[in-house]
Amino acid sequence: MISSFRNALDSGKFVVTCEVAPPKGLNLEQTGHHIDLLKDKVDAMNLTDHQSSVMRFPSIGGALLVKEMGGEPILQMTCRDRNRLALQADLLFAASRGINNVLCLTGDSVMLGDHKTAKGVFDLDSSQLVAAARTLEKGRDLGGNDLDGAPSFCAGAIVTPEANPLEPQLIKFEKKIEAGAEFIQTQAVYDLEKLKDFMDYARQFKVKILAGIILLTSAPMARFMNKNIAGVNVPQPLIDEIAGAPKGGAIAKGIEIAGRMINQIHSENICDGVHIMAIGKEELVPEIMASAGLTPAAS
């Protein structure tokens, strides 16, 4: 087996992944703290790749740090900043350092980030990046040339189960699986009935699906996501619930809501696991897991 994350996926257990964001700069203290806190509690942690097109320490550097600290990294790679030569080279480098889990993303437009006039590359798209990883595994590059030493990957991609319109999104989802994606982490879902509808369809494919859970931290944050994040829809009753939390208790309520959702996804066997995005509050992931009744991965 090429990674403990793939072992976890194959084991049939309820898989938990989370996200760790590399820092803006060289101070790795907080990133290291989050890794240390989470590495034995989750099955793997995603290292975000200039998330929202904000330039940061590289995801591959974060993945190396996770590896060095004894954790299991999932290297996020977007197609926004690198052409096919650079992407393949970074895949080879990752594999050479034992980083074999890769999440292939198209990437946000640079216009959403902090270098708004940069050139967006998009030489490949997410499905083509999955295919590129699979091509490298066969000992060839995208130019059709032989490689001296081939890597192996546990390659995944994402889907937005509440995209509107939905069908184009599902067509792309199927292409990602055709390209070789073996796991899928979803965009944040809050309406579990809609997630069930999506899973009724998605179960026909041989792919492991981890439901995306974003920790709600306040009612304004939920409304902000509804307005600004494509495919994220926090239902009004959940917004009311967090708005009704006692003063200073919104985060505790958010943890409770996330825990409740994860518990239901787990107990009703809706998905193969969850991907918890605590966005800047990674230290709360253990509390969310505890609230969901999940025991740490290592135990």
Partner: protein
């Protein structure tokens, strides 16, 4: 008809480009920039006033019929006296016009406009970029809608995660190309062509700078 779509540069940039150049001759164009109101007769007249207010001297102005045409130099020949009195030509045409004048007159040119795209008029006063002349046309599989151009990221395998109710993540006034393509293919009963996993694009259909010479026959 296709049109060269332009927008006026900021005054700050224009005056930076004109620094040390005091005698200015202004050239507009009677075609695309007249239609988009960025370099027709009224805009050229307004530019003249702006320059005069800032203390520049305007030696003359003219709106040529089609600035990118090779006949432009002949039309400008009538103005040669006033052109020669100028330190620079401030040109309110698209970059095709600016470069035509520059190569024909071999004088200092300053573009007053930015050329945004080659657009198709899709409604009164509305222009859309629908082709970027990539040299590897894919629209036979996308219902006649170009994802290379209309998708902000030029994606050829379907929408990204930023697609939002038919709109693009960079601007809610811009359509998501893949929603348009999906709707068109669905209407045509050809959604299967969207299901085909496309390999990496050839970005060098015609390596820049494009060059074409008709073969003798």
């Amino acid at each position: 008809m296709i049109r060269s779509i332009t927008k006026l540069k900021s005054e700050e940039e224009i005056f930076r480009l004109l620094e040390g150049l005091n005698r200015i001759f202004i050239i507009g164009c009677g075609t695309c920039v007249t239609l988009t109101r960025t370099g027709g007769a009224p805009e050229v007249a307004a530019m003249k006033d702006t320059l005069l207010e800032s203390g520049k001297l305007v030696t003359g102005r003219v709106v040529v019929p089609v600035a990118c045409d090779n006949l432009t130099s002949e039309i400008l020949a009538e103005e040669l006296g006033r052109i020669e009195q100028a330190d620079a030509l401030l040109i309110m045409t698209c970059a095709f016009g600016v470069q035509t004048v520059s190569s024909q007159l071999k004088r200092m040119v300053v573009p007053a406009l930015d050329t945004l795209f080659i657009g198709k008029e899709s409604g009164s006063g509305q222009f859309n970029e629908i082709c970027t002349q990539c040299g590897t046309c894919v629209i036979g599989e996308t219902g006649g809608i170009c994802p290379v151009t209309v998708c902000h990221k030029g994606l050829i395998n379907g929408p990204c995660g930023g697609t939002n109710q038919g709109r693009c993540e960079i601007d809610s006034n811009k359509d998501c190309a893949w929603t348009l393509i999906y709707n068109r293919l669905k209407e045509l009963g050809r959604l299967d062509s969207m299901r085909k996993l496309q390999g990496p694009r050839n970005f060098l259909g015609e390596p820049t700078p494009g060059k074409y010479e008709m073969s003798e026959s």
